[in-house]
Symmetry: C2
Subunit: 147 residues, 2 copies
Amino acid sequence: MMDPFTDEYFMKKALQEAAMAFDKGEIPVGALVVAHNTIIARGHNLTEMLNDVTAHAEMQAITAAANYLGGKYLKDCTLYVTLEPCQMCAGALYWSQISKIVFGASDLQRGFKKMGSQLHPKTTVVGGVLAEEAADLMQRFFAARRK
Amino acid sequence: MMDPFTDEYFMKKALQEAAMAFDKGEIPVGALVVAHNTIIARGHNLTEMLNDVTAHAEMQAITAAANYLGGKYLKDCTLYVTLEPCQMCAGALYWSQISKIVFGASDLQRGFKKMGSQLHPKTTVVGGVLAEEAADLMQRFFAARRK
């Protein structure tokens, strides 16, 4: 039997979070934390609504996941996020010792790879999952803002 | 007349925040945000109490300062922090476009300099202010934990 819980399956859910940010006029980035095939935390970018540069989707999902687990380490968890994390979020993920990060579109300007941020040695990374859908949402957002 | 509002003056206040973290059994790091010689936000490390790796002193001070100012950019502000920021906090400070960062003790293992994090081009940095006091507090904390 095929495993329904693929990276694409969870990334679609993260894209739904990103769409919620889009609808609020926020840069459309969504994130989930998954443990044992269960979504334990969700977040979407709220930097405008909260007037807070730290309110990225990943940060909220990390805090919510730790709250759910009752411990601050996300050792058996996977973060799904529609856009490559920035250095702040990569730094938070470093501290969380998360097992796996799956991201959608690359951020060639402010992504953690370009910025040279370090992840925890125990963390594996997969990029490019449903990248076109994530990038398309971003492009539509910025095109609408320019009008 | 001598300016009473020196970096040492505000760092002493940040050390008081660090001492509050110490008393709660948290790694003793304290932070302030200052605008026009007025302390507009304070924070101390609460990662254990909140079960949250993102609850560093700087992150709380950044969020509180933006809340006070009603805007997410800290362009005319200075962050005082007793320990060199990590890559997460450096990343948050990058987004905030803060004018100046003053830190106490260097963190040679996990500090943003060692980790290669990038600050905003508009941000100036001063390190080593009351560094011995900050380092002493850290050493006493870890010595007590080893007992």
